[in-house]
Symmetry: C2
Subunit: 276 residues, 2 copies
Amino acid sequence: MKYIDKLEKTSKKNNSLLCIGLDSDYHKLPRFLLDNRYPQFAFNKAIIDATYDLVAAYKPNSAFYEVQGEHGILQLKMTCEYIRAKYRFIPVILDAKRGDIGESNDRYDRFAFEYLGVDAITLHPYLGSEALEPFLKHADKMCYILCRTSNAGAGEFQDLKTGNIPLYQVVAKHISDSWNKNKNCGLVVGATYAREIKIVRKLAPSLQLLIPGVGAQGGDLKKAVQYAMDKSGEGFVINASRSIIFASNDEDFAKRAREEALKLRDQINYFRKGGK
Amino acid sequence: MKYIDKLEKTSKKNNSLLCIGLDSDYHKLPRFLLDNRYPQFAFNKAIIDATYDLVAAYKPNSAFYEVQGEHGILQLKMTCEYIRAKYRFIPVILDAKRGDIGESNDRYDRFAFEYLGVDAITLHPYLGSEALEPFLKHADKMCYILCRTSNAGAGEFQDLKTGNIPLYQVVAKHISDSWNKNKNCGLVVGATYAREIKIVRKLAPSLQLLIPGVGAQGGDLKKAVQYAMDKSGEGFVINASRSIIFASNDEDFAKRAREEALKLRDQINYFRKGGK
């Protein structure tokens, strides 16, 4: 099933535009899990089983598995397989921020979509659409391209004026106007830059937005939601990672993650409906 | 030992500015290696043992190991460890083209510099220096930032005029002027854009350049070398991957790789000395 169809089905069923980021840092896991042969997977499994009816998507961040070496990569795969096997309509976004020339992208593409079997990936725009063709050719997947990132120093290049408009806006417009032939492009825009979300939504009225930066990074949820909505009141997911998955570091971590996920899902919905 | 000291020592000893790219695609390996439990490692080991006295550096491309999943990651690690153990002064550049926010970059950093133990990494500039700080803080490593990539469509964003100058030049200048406090920044500039190498060298007179795109991609070696040289006639490495490592697909693959490496090393030196 296409990413976009999975996303629609799951977000309707769960009444949710919440994406939970599985940034499952080994060193932040509850200590009692560390005896497990696959502690990152055991942690993810518990989080997923506790939140599957509250999410629109899951987003494992590749960095936190790679740092554990081949054993981390295996647990990333186990996590993706677990979601696919048990919760088959929940889409999985691999947050990998890849971007190379075509020959290498073909391999990154197969890592994401064949080995891991995910439904979407995050990508860098810098090499242009010609280089990203191995990803862009999959009409059933989603390519979330970095547009305006959530970090404090994002503006160093992203705000550079090209002609009269900042680079991140050129990226948004290019992708909306000419990369999206297969209707499989989305944009990453940080909630820490609410004003920029509003501008990006105007430039790219029909693209899916992936919005990190609420929770631990402190973005403004209300503005992020209200600016990110497309005409149908959807067209985006809000990602939170640490504020949900590490809400507790104790036996109750999954229960506490569920409470935080429920709260955030409901806040997103409240703001979608015009709540102040 | 610092990357830059390893590079100097090895390039002097081997009279070489050649970097061999270990893009060791499983599906292109000689068939008789496929029975090996670690075919990518076995292949790399043979290539390295046949060329160690001809190179300035090796550059494994992460994509070709990731696509093989956890078993590929392990072989990437085995390759890096093998070079470090047997040829301790040959620097290893991880071609990973990473770039995320700080928290995630910290994990990618540890994947590269602790788990794999490499000496340098390739990075995307899009998120700015604040995000790349986990990499930039290592004065003993090298951060090769993508500036002008070798692919045909590189200009889509990289040639956008910001003020009066194209984005890739702004990137070169920013990195040269303000990112290089620890003298550990370099730039990736494709040999397929010789004119751009000349401009980048002017903007960044003392930065190390990593130049892919000769060999299979067809860049102009003579111009690349002559434009890339700093005042001392050095300051760069030329990377070739497929044209060397896959010169033969038979029992003689390592011998043929050595012949191609020798030829290219000598061509680079010929052009360094003003050869036409």
